[in-house]
């Protein structure tokens, strides 16, 4: 198991954002993390990669306890992340943005080797012809690709993708899905938050479902899609849903 999340809870003041979350992720897989808005998906990512520590529980990455480590220590151990809200380093060029990933990620490259690694990652996500532009000048779809390239250039064991498809048009989504599949085929393990159900169902090996901070279901896409709890979480009323599905 590359990632084990054990009994993780997170409280913000009176708000219970995560409660007793348990799951494991096997190497080489794509796992989808789904759930309604406000279910705690991004919070779970933040706990896994050390933006803040969990209130209770453990995160184990490649056999090592990483609970409570600062995010840069987690990054060095081979865990990279693409953000939901794109956060390019605006005053740097696209290439420099990606170089930060390579320089400070798992392999800690020197600046010159990072540059060639960055170009490789940019080629892979189809952004190489923009390499010398400032990140500020990219459109949303391109910024999403930049996020992905930056995470890739860190050569991580595990990639956390937070809604990389959100805000893209259908043809952009198809392109991005293709890119994610090739990344998986190169041996990266991926944990992705995604709202576009069709996409996440078709690409994931495993899916887990979060609702009100708790895991309510897990399994392969087929199982999850037919789980009444999941349907209830998304649509509110199982009878209503059943009726809708029957029609």
């Amino acid at each position: 198991m590359i990632l084990q999340v054990q009994e993780v809870s997170k409280r913000f003041g009176g708000l219970q954002a995560l409660l007793d979350v348990n799951f494991e992720l096997a190497e080489g897989q794509i796992m989808g993390l789904i759930g309604p808005n406000g279910a705690g998906k991004t919070t779970l990512f933040n706990v896994i990669n050390g933006v803040y520590p969990p209130t209770e529980g453990q995160v184990i990455f490649r056999g090592e306890k990483i609970t409570g480590l600062p995010s840069y220590e987690v990054a060095r151990r081979g865990l990279a992340r693409a953000h939901q809200v794109v956060r390019p380093l605006n005053d740097l060029t696209v290439r420099e943005n990606v170089m930060v990933g390579a320089c400070f990620g798992r392999e800690r490259h020197s600046r010159s080797s990072a540059a060639s690694l960055a170009d490789q990652a940019l080629t892979q996500v189809g952004l190489i012809d923009r390499a010398d532009q400032f990140a500020l000048s990219l459109n949303v779809a391109q910024k999403k690709r930049l996020e992905l390239a930056r995470a890739l250039a860190a050569r991580p064991y595990l990639l956390l993708l937070d809604e990389v498809l959100a805000g893209l048009n259908p043809s952009e989504i198809a392109g991005m899905m293709e890119t994610i599949r090739t990344i998986r085929d190169q041996g990266f393990t991926i944990l992705m938050i995604e709202h576009i159900m069709q996409a996440v169902m078709s690409i994931s090996d495993q899916i887990i479902v979060l609702d009100y901070g708790q895991l309510i279901a897990g399994g392969n896409p087929q199982e999850v899609a037919n789980n009444p709890k999941v349907i209830e979480a998304y649509l509110g009323d199982p009878e209503m849903t059943a009726r809708l599905l029957a029609e």
Partner: protein, 322 residues
């Protein structure tokens, strides 16, 4: 990396190197005094740029390191009888140690809160030194003239100090460039743009910004010692002028923050402008107001500074205008 093959390094290095060389060839005392001030501000502005321009932490207390490091170095010269070059190093090291201590507290703050805290540090340091008897309290310290004998009299000592300053400023330029082009410098840029994202990408922000602060603080300590040694005395109001902290900041903005050439051009321009205003008949009494007006126009209309504007306007020149 081979420094001598970097197009972005040469303009800055040559500018400082040649201006010092001209002074040494012409050997005029008044020219040396002017050049001393300009070089000093280039050194101070460039070292501030490492923290402010590269890392994005705006320090209003840069002059604290000039003041405290300079005080300590001067103390080593006048009370302990150290040669000035060793004393200057001592001043620099002390400044870095202080930066480490101060940084442990204030580098946790971000944005305007950090800026405010550094204003407090500046004032606390001034008030403290005014009361600190080993440093002469509010009257400060005076150098014993026998200290100049070691260098062949006061006149020779001034030339010697000038050469030391020139070398220190050249070192600031080299270090600034190396930092900018290194992996460390890339990490600093990432911190400047978005500290949280930088950390998620693996940048050890707490450590890296502390390092940047130490480097940035080292040079003012050196420069302060040389400046006070040249003047022959040091007193609190001279060493911790909040105004001067701001002037250095203005120089960085004037030339363009985050650029190697920016603070150099900014310091030159600001000093020349001030020199002109102070001597002109019309502006003599209004030099401060006129400087203020120039600053306002820069902030409002050329926020990237002079060099930044050139880079925008002529993208082909970017290789040379780093």
């Amino acid at each position: 990396m081979n420094l001598w093959r970097q197009p972005g390094f040469w303009p800055s290095f040559l500018l400082v190197f040649l201006s010092g060389l001209v002074v040494l060839v012409l050997r005029q005392d008044t020219l040396r005094e002017t050049a001393f001030t300009v070089l000093m501000f280039i050194g101070l502005a460039s070292s501030l740029n490492i923290l402010m321009g590269y890392t994005g932490y705006v320090n209003f207390g840069h002059i604290v390191f000039f003041g405290l490091g300079g005080y300590f170095g001067f103390f080593l010269v006048s009370e302990m009888g150290w040669p000035v070059y060793l004393a200057a190093l001592g001043g620099g090291v002390l400044s870095s140690i202080l930066a480490y201590i101060i940084g442990a507290a204030v580098l946790r703050l971000r944005g305007a809160y950090f800026a405010l805290a550094t204003i407090g540090v500046n004032e606390a340091a001034r008030a403290f030194v005014s009361n600190f008897e080993p440093f002469g309290g509010s009257t400060g310290l005076y150098v014993n003239f026998s200290a100049y004998d070691r260098y062949g009299g006061a006149g020779q000592a001034l030339w010697f100090t000038f050469i030391l300053l020139w070398l220190v400023v050249l070192a600031v330029i080299v270090v600034s460039y190396l930092v900018k082009r290194s992996r460390f410098g890339l990490g600093l840029s990432a911190i400047r743009e978005d500290e949280d994202t930088a950390m998620v990408m693996g940048v050890n922000a707490p450590l890296d910004k502390t390092k940047a602060f130490l480097i940035s603080a080292f040079f003012p300590g050196l420069i302060g010692t040389l400046y006070f040694f040249k003047n022959g005395n040091v007193e609190p109001d001279d060493a911790f002028r909040f105004q001067m902290s701001l002037e250095i900041l203005v120089m960085v903005m004037l030339g363009g923050k985050g650029l190697l050439l920016g603070p150099i051009v900014g310091a030159f321009a600001y000093e020349r402008l001030r020199g002109y205003l102070l001597t002109s008949v019309i502006f003599k009494n209004l030099h401060l107001a006129t400087s203020g007006l120039v600053l306002l126009l820069i902030v409002l209309f050329v926020p990237g500074g002079g060099v930044g504007w050139l880079r925008e306007r002529f993208p082909k020149l970017r290789r040379w205008l780093e």
